[in-house]
Amino acid sequence: MTREEITNELKDIIIQITHKPIAALSDGDNWQSIGADSLDKVQIIMALEEKHDIEILDEDIAAITDMHSFIDLLEKKINA
């Protein structure tokens, strides 16, 4: 998957789980700015794990500082 495809998919999943509209996802966005609390965060990650049959470890999650680093991680896991 391209980075753009991953970004769009992530945006759709975020909207589906947070029920909050997002026009576009920018690299500088973080969990707070997209309106996701800790339960949303776990659900978003689980939805991606299920969809792509990947595993995102607790240490991976702890290293996510913003959407840029999250998309980096997803790119690596999905395309591995």
Binding site: L39, M46, E49
Partner: protein, 414 residues
């Protein structure tokens, strides 16, 4: 050193309910008095080869009418019922939360949570591993989350807890709330019960202990005090009552519906499934003593009246022994119309007592046709009855032996 503490009188100022007879208090009350029955053939899952075919399902409840989509995601159905009933009750009580001290408003709910949700997750865990279980299940299944979600919705910070004493839970929550208010723990406590009972696992397990009616005709399955009774029928729903100290209600010129005048508790210490006679009597006695009345003062009894052979016989015997040579007032079981709402049953039936006092009418025991020589009291068969009611006794008993009776009194100032 002893200290003297003022005991506050506790009044009811609002009622909200979601039941198989409707999703709004006056609608439910009218249907009950008209002899309607909320028990129907179950449609939420396939009952073709299932031993239980009927229940008091709620098919027209829309949680989005009471909470946003995010709250719907994070709540189990029983917490959703409780939130809806609470908002209705606050509306009836004319409470402006912005004008109240949130530290002085509490929530007490009788609930068993939604343990069946754990079953689904256990299957997922077995198949896919522990990291694939749904993180929202904690927020949905725990009994403590019903009061937690209600408290979050209202933004109130007073006492917030769940109570479980099986089918006594609703009365238990109201009785405990009454005592908290008497002692000044809060000014307002929204108390009641909630239950999402009609699930395959709840019916299958309760059926295995022989408590449920296997009759597949919805109009013949729940027959309290009738010779043909064959077990109870589950219903879904919630009822929440706004309880306040009299002083607080008077200060805000609230519409006072009735007083919660007393509560009694007892425990059978006898059997997991069979009721015991003496504790049933003592439970009613404690409630009557607490309200400082005598049995002969009681105008109406809302019975636990489940429709099981054992309960209805033991409850009848207990009432006879309580009253002795005194006249026994009319008794009815509203479970014939609503089904047995489990942890919500006592709360719904307390609300019916409040409304019976308000309107001077006793709700009937519907579907009654064949008298049982062992249950030979006046059960207000099939038709509501006009009567001035000043004092009601409401009985609840739980599987496992917990009993709780409440006294509901016509409100008099002072």
């Amino acid at each position: 050193m002893t200290t003297t503490r003022q005991i506050n009188k506790v009044v009811v100022t609002g009622i909200g309910m979601i039941t198989p007879l409707g999703c709004e208090t006056e609608q439910v009350w009218t249907a009950l008095l008209n002899g309607s029955c909320g028990i129907k053939t179950i449609t939420s899952f396939d009952i073709t080869d299932f031993p239980i075919a009927v229940g008091g399902e709620i098919l027209d409840f829309d949680p989005l009418a009471y909470m946003d989509i995010k709250k719907v995601d994070r709540t189990g159905r029983s917490a959703q019922f409780a939130i809806a009933a609470t908002k209705q009750a606050l509306n009836m009580a004319n409470i402006d939360l912005a004008a109240e001290d949130p530290d002085r408003i509490g929530i007490l709910i009788g609930t068993s949570g939604m343990p069946e949700l754990l079953g689904e997750q256990m299957m997922i865990m077995k198949e896919k591993g522990p990291n694939r279980v749904n993180p929202l299940v904690v927020s949905r299944f725990r009994a403590s989350m019903a009061p937690s979600h209600v408290g979050m919705e209202l933004g109130v910070h007073g006492i917030n807890t769940s109570i479980n004493s099986a089918c006594s839970s609703g009365n238990d929550a109201i009785g405990n709330a009454m005592n908290h208010l008497r002692l000044g723990t809060a000014d307002i406590i929204i108390a009641g019960g909630t239950g999402s009972n009609i699930t395959p696992i709840a019916l299958a397990t309760t059926n295995r202990i022989g408590a449920l009616s296997k009759v597949r005709d919805p109009m013949a399955a729940c027959l309290p005090f009738d010779a043909a009774r064959s077990g109870f029928v589950y219903g879904d729903g919630a009822c929440m009552l706004v309880l306040e100290t009299e002083a607080h209600a008077l200060a805000r010129k609230a519409p006072i519906l009735a007083e919660i005048a007393g509560a009694g508790w007892s425990f059978d210490a006898f059997s997991e499934t069979n009721p015991a006679l003496e504790p049933r009597i003592s439970c009613m006695k404690w409630a009557i003593k607490d309200a400082d009345i005598t049995p002969s003062d009681i105008d109406y009894i809302n019975a636990h009246g489940t429709g099981t052979k054992q309960n209805d016989f033991i409850e009848t015997e207990a009432i006879k022994k309580l009253f002795g040579t005194e006249d026994i007032p009319p008794i009815s079981s509203t479970k014939a119309a609503t089904g047995h709402l489990g942890c919500a049953a006592g709360a719904v039936e307390t609300a019916f007592c409040v409304l019976a006092i308000r309107d001077g009418i006793i709700p009937p025991t519907i579907h009654y046709s064949t008298p049982d020589p062992q249950c030979d009291l006046d059960y207000v068969p099939n038709t509501a009855r006009r009567k001035t009611i000043d004092l009601c006794l409401n009985n609840s008993s739980g599987l496992g032996g917990q009993n709780c009776s409440l006294i509901i009194r016509r409100y008099k100032n002072g």
